[in-house]
Symmetry: D2
Subunit: 137 residues, 4 copies
């Protein structure tokens, strides 16, 4: 599991006084990027090689609202990994009281620049697999 | 089914050159607001009565990328309605060629301002039910 | 002057109950894109030719808050045009009562993909100039 | 001067491959919130007392593009302070090479919930003044 912390931005709230639900997917993305970074996979490297990683499927369950200025913890796990796809799981937790705010999943594929599904090159896949095995044991 | 059209904004794209996946939930919201408006239910009226309508559960499947300046059609249906929750379904379609870009679902509850789940007052619920029955027949 | 209308999205509000100030620049951009479209200049064509159009300078004065579901009018004018830059002016007006909500300016340059300032190719510049002359007379 | 660091999010980029200009105002806001926090002024306290702090005027000059995953430094100063308004200045700097990416200004007023301009209560104003004097000496 990879963990980062962030603080809820004013702009992330809406007129109900809580964080707009769409923003959780932006937090998930921050967790995913950090997971990949810690595994030694940089999205900018993939893009330079012409590898695209479109999101195909997402879901989120909201349990408790988050509010402006809350300190939040974004917990990211790799739930499924193959050379053609990655399924990440996420939990957003309020740091102050450890309350679960939301949990979710995202599924990415790998494609070339024309949208054709490809296999992630071995050098990247192996790093991801090694990191994922290591972080789960 | 309630249908609106919109055009993809520049700011909605990301460095992969396509619309960022989080923005589809903002389009779903536009469809949902319009559905409710056509049913005679105005969110500003609910808020003035202290009725909050938090999102509890969302999902989206992405089929084909949407791009800057695409004209899109947001199709919204009520998939499940009760006095305590609404489940909406959505399809995002590219207007030019009728290609399905994404489909999704959202589930709202109704709560008071302290977060306690409440039943939607009859006057609103009846309008929603009548409109939903009418638009499906 | 080029005019478009749009409706304030729920996600564009913040916990003060009004539209977040950063969103006005996204409305200005919609006005600018439409101005260029009506002049026969499509940003996707420029990008395909490797012409980038970074924003260098922006400002906005806010006069009256806009709120969820307001119908707004985005008025866009070309205030200054040369082969190396475009200065656009904007007014955001509430449709219901013609109240000015905000006014602003943006300045774009044209660059190549490495960030070097370039002159807009004649075919585009002439269309812009002709449209701007025509829309001001 | 108050300094915070942040990392550019994927969603903050656009199809030109750089951060969308509107997002800088969201970074300015993060700097402003942190400045006020360090001065002992919490926006949530103001809101609870019915004090609103609308933005009236903003500007930004962009010098160099920022890109996905850049580590940025947000430097915030109080350029002008009175019981009715605050003018903040900002500099966004790339941490790796100390390159200035953008600089800007924002002006806030204080109002009550009906939009009437008010004077910031003494307890808040004095903290702000003391902190500002201290951080400039």
């Amino acid at each position: 599991m990879v963990v980062i912390q962030d603080r809820v931005r004013f702009v992330e709230t809406d007129l109900m006084g809580v964080v707009h639900h769409s923003n959780y997917f932006r937090w998930f993305e921050m967790g995913r990027v950090e997971y990949l970074r810690q595994a030694g996979v940089f999205l900018t490297d993939l893009l330079e090689e012409g590898i695209i990683f479109p999101i195909r499927d997402v879901s989120c369950q909201y349990r408790s609202p988050s509010r402006f200025d809350d300190l939040i913890r974004i917990e990211t796990t790799m739930d499924e990994l193959s050379p053609v796809k990655m399924v990440f799981g996420y939990r957003i937790v309020k740091v102050d009281d450890d309350v679960l705010l939301a949990s979710g999943k995202t599924m990415n594929l790998f494609t070339n620049s024309t949208g054709k599904i490809i296999r992630l090159p071995g050098k990247y896949y192996e790093r991801l697999q090694a990191f994922t095995d290591g972080s789960q044991s």
